[in-house]
Amino acid sequence: NAGVTQTPKFRVLKTGQSMTLLCAQDMNHEYMYWYRQDPGMGLRLIHYSVGEGTTAKGEVPDGYNVSRLKKQNFLLGLESAAPSQTSVYFCASSYLRHGSPGELFFGEGSRLTVL
């Protein structure tokens, strides 16, 4: 049972390039999340999804897009990467509990560097 899998785990981009981070979960969870983690800033929510075909903005959505075409996958896209997007990105998923998420299950993170 893999849980939450993120690919790639490391990536270096040049400013202006685009890329997509893939998150896959095999727990049939309804909720999926993308966070970024920066020193001293904790985890900040970028986008999240409460079910297949739905997405919503979090705290820091600018510069990112997401899609949830299949329940098990949640893609995070950077259309034109900027150095400010250098960060560690964590995907997480959660089950539905009385109309709200339970605890989060995290992937191992993807370290992105934008030069």
């Binding site: 966070y35 904790g42 709200s100 998420p101 605890e103 989060l104």
Partner: protein
């Protein structure tokens, strides 16, 4: 908008000392509350969670937390820390406010360093 405050940025303790990490949130309605731990170089792992019921919650590795609704707080405690508890600790809150039940917000974290 809801927010989560962790007042201590870095806590340094000696082994066997007692620990209390503060967490306050800014929402007056129903909340689910969580504490996560992140060991160096790893992803976040759940320590404990509160959904309802007994406000004193026990988690893994001897940690516990108390939900005090009147103080909007969910402080993490451990009676006697070990060197292996050195990690970063995050409080997280999910507030039930209409259309954003899925929105789960984290505090900025508290680094705990335990001296052997």
């Amino acid at each position: 908008a809801q927010s989560v405050s962790q007042h201590n940025h870095h806590v340094i303790l000696s082994e066997a000392a007692s620990l209390e990490l503060g967490c306050n949130y800014s929402y007056g309605g129903t909340v689910n509350l969580f504490w996560y731990v992140q060991y160096p170089g790893q992803h976040l792992q759940l320590l404990l969670k509160y959904f309802s019921g007994d406000p004193l919650v026990k988690g893994i590795k001897g940690f516990e937390a108390e939900f005090i609704k009147s103080k909007f707080s969910f402080n993490l405690r451990k009676p006697s820390v070990q060197w292996s508890d050195t990690a970063e600790y995050f409080c997280a809150v999910n507030a039930f406010d209409g259309g954003s039940q899925g929105n789960l917000i984290f505090g900025k974290g508290t680094k705990l360093s335990v001296k052997p």
